[in-house]
Symmetry: C2
């Protein structure tokens, strides 16, 4: 975007940590955040006093607990971190990747040498109405009803009003958005329910290998198809669940690494942020690519690598059809070829380019404001060769894609990060 040649510095992820995702009604946001921060600092072999700034992503705590403001300061101060610049950022389900983007900018732009990126969310609440009000708050609330009607018209008939994966007889409006997009893809490219189910089954299998995943039960394609319909063609097991959790990353500069190396301190292997690109939706003309493809294109260009170089990816599978469409947007296959990529098994563990080895949003869980950094946690583990049963052998290039909110027909925020080791 800028006019002169880049003078940006490199930036590295030096430590990552996250809580197990799940239902944590008995644990406060402070406790969840503290666990993630401590794990990330321990991973980086750093103390809290090394942190020069903090970028904190959260989406909906205001509507859930009433903590509408200074969410980062409240959890950080309780954990002995203060006196530094603290920026609270929100981009719906892409809040944490936006926090990471700001952390990258802080280091790459030369403002700080060691910063914290934190994502956190508590969605479970005894009053489920609060949870669904929070989800509605990620779409223009002035046009919610018109939006519902538009989706229903697009479907030819009203979507069935069944319970979603979280019970309670309600579902997020986003499920209707995803269902409409899935139906469009089926009509345009002959994609079938079985392809979506195969992705959900894959992610449940990956999740069964991940001790931090909310769901650790591998499901078959048949089980996925037989689970209750949320909004045709989505079944409950194709949808990400409600969850609580936190994830953190410590981002540092080359100068920081050099200074540390001079002091001969033990340190883990840094993972380079090869690209960090944020974008937002727009009304594009015919023939123009969508916002995800455009943001991915910019990220590949910034990093000087292409989709073929990616060894492992975490993508925003809020629903299984979304993952299939993301294969196409991210250049892992041609437009309309998502179904063939599923059939090839390339995106399963053991395949050529495993996707969502963590279990993805579907199995690992989706505490929305934590998701973008949880993706980074998995990818750093993969690049460092410590992903255990989920390890992608020889992984050297990783991609994370995170999406948030919706304005009109496009996501409100899209972030793509490329990591290399």
């Amino acid at each position: 975007m800028r006019m002169e040649d880049s003078t940006l510095r490199q930036a590295y992820v030096l430590g990552v940590g996250m809580t197990r995702f799940g239902k944590h009604l008995d644990r406060s946001m402070k406790a969840l955040a503290a666990e993630a921060i401590d794990l990330a600092l321990a991973d980086a072999a750093l103390g809290r006093d090394a942190l020069e700034a903090a970028y904190v992503g959260n989406a909906v705590q205001g509507l859930i607990t009433g903590q509408e403001c200074v969410r980062g300061q409240v959890v950080l101060r309780e954990h002995g971190i203060g006196g530094i610049p603290i920026v609270n950022v929100e981009n719906a389900c892409a809040s944490a990747s936006t926090a990471l983007h700001l952390a990258w900018r802080a280091v790459a732009g030369g403002f700080e040498d060691c910063v914290l990126a934190l994502g956190m969310e508590k969605l479970f609440h005894p009053d489920k109405r609060k949870v669904f009000a929070a989800f509605s708050g990620a779409i223009d609330v002035e046009i919610l009803e018109a939006f519902r009607q538009m989706l229903a018209r697009g479907a030819g008939e009203p979507a069935p009003a069944t319970a979603d994966g979280n019970g309670g007889g309600q579902r997020s409006l986003f499920m209707d958005v995803y269902a409409a997009a899935a139906r469009h893809h089926m009509e345009a490219y002959g994609t079938r329910r079985e392809h979506f189910a195969a992705i959900a089954a894959k992610n449940s299998w990956h999740g069964s290998l991940n001790p931090r995943a909310q769901y650790q039960q591998a499901r078959t394609v048949e089980e996925v198809l037989a689970s209750p319909v949320v909004a045709d063609p989505l079944t409950r097991l194709m949808c990400s669940p409600i969850g609580d959790g936190a994830a953190a990353a410590v981002v540092v500069s080359p100068d920081f690494l050099v200074a540390r190396s001079r002091r001969a301190e033990a340190a883990p292997r840094p993972v380079r942020i090869a690209a960090s690109v944020l974008g937002s939706g727009w009304d594009r003309g015919a023939g123009e690519s969508g916002v995800v493809a455009e943001v991915a294109r910019r990220a590949y260009e910034a990093a000087g690598i292409g989709p073929a170089d990616v060894d492992v990816a975490e993508v925003h599978d809020a629903t299984a059809p979304a993952e299939l469409m993301l294969y196409e947007d991210l250049g892992f296959c041609a437009e309309g070829d998502g179904k063939r990529l599923v059939e090839s098994g390339a995106t399963r563990l053991g395949g050529r380019r495993p996707v969502n080895t963590s279990g993805g949003l579907i199995a690992k869980g989706h505490p929305v404001g934590a998701t973008g950094i949880a993706q980074i946690v998995e990818l750093v583990d993969q690049l460092r060769g410590r992903a255990g049963k989920r390890q992608v052998e020889g992984a050297r290039v990783a991609l994370a894609q995170n999406a948030g909110g919706a304005v009109r027909a496009e996501p409100a925020a899209i972030a793509v990060h490329l990591l290399t080791i």
Copy 2:
């Protein structure tokens, strides 16, 4: 903070705009934001397509309207701005200055050449409970009750439960915080109610000269003292009111200015951001300065100027006593000497260093998420010599100080900006 010599670029405010602050029940956030953006772009002589990114500050819209997420995207897309990185930031009453800080970083760090900083808030709502819940959300909500009790103990007796400036028999907990600090200052330094009242009267006079101010009626010291007590020693006319409004600034790089100059386009005089510093509260030891003084010190150092160089300032007078204490924190006088500075008349229009020529939060109004950039609007007008009846002759150096939220005894966020022309 960083280890190597700075390679940051300069950054300039090229255009500013704001709505009148006030009660805008009939106008949506979209309409208010659009007005501020259009004014800022017109001031910069730029079109919307020049914007490469947007940083949007808002504090409490989630609790007021339910628009908990993607607040920036919702108003920008409606106004024909999308497809660019959009970051929603929140730091309570310092949300807009935090957005400006990120805009400055975007340009100074070399990420973008022309960006928008937007602050916006609608606080008025037919249901006043929503407004007060929103204010409580800027303090750790888990300890609200304990906090109330601590304040009451500090006062020796419970603060009187009178109506605040907005009626309704309720008041923000922040008024108790400010009252406790004011009582402490009175005991420690012999400051009197009359000093606070003189500041409120001054700001009401300044506001009477500002067409964008919520209150445009000049008040006397006697009127201020005679208005209803909110929390001793605060009277209603010493407190900032509830308000709605939006303010915007366009920030550009030197490269952008050079390119424009080559095209021989007409352009307004750029105002340099000489320093932009963000900080947060901390538990400091005896003898250590508070967070405002520390952030101001860093800003003066970054800009290479001192408090004596400041010609005009906008400071966070959420209450009149806060402004008096800020004189001391910002180095406009020695600790404890705030009362003498008030008596000297130096901070009134016509004095040596006028403060809150806009009317400040007390008279101009305080739509919290817009305030930090509204301060910049006033200061840019002053530095460009177009402040009309409020003009500070020959102003070349300006300071803005904005504060937000509270964790324990200190503000959660503090921002200080220094501007020069």
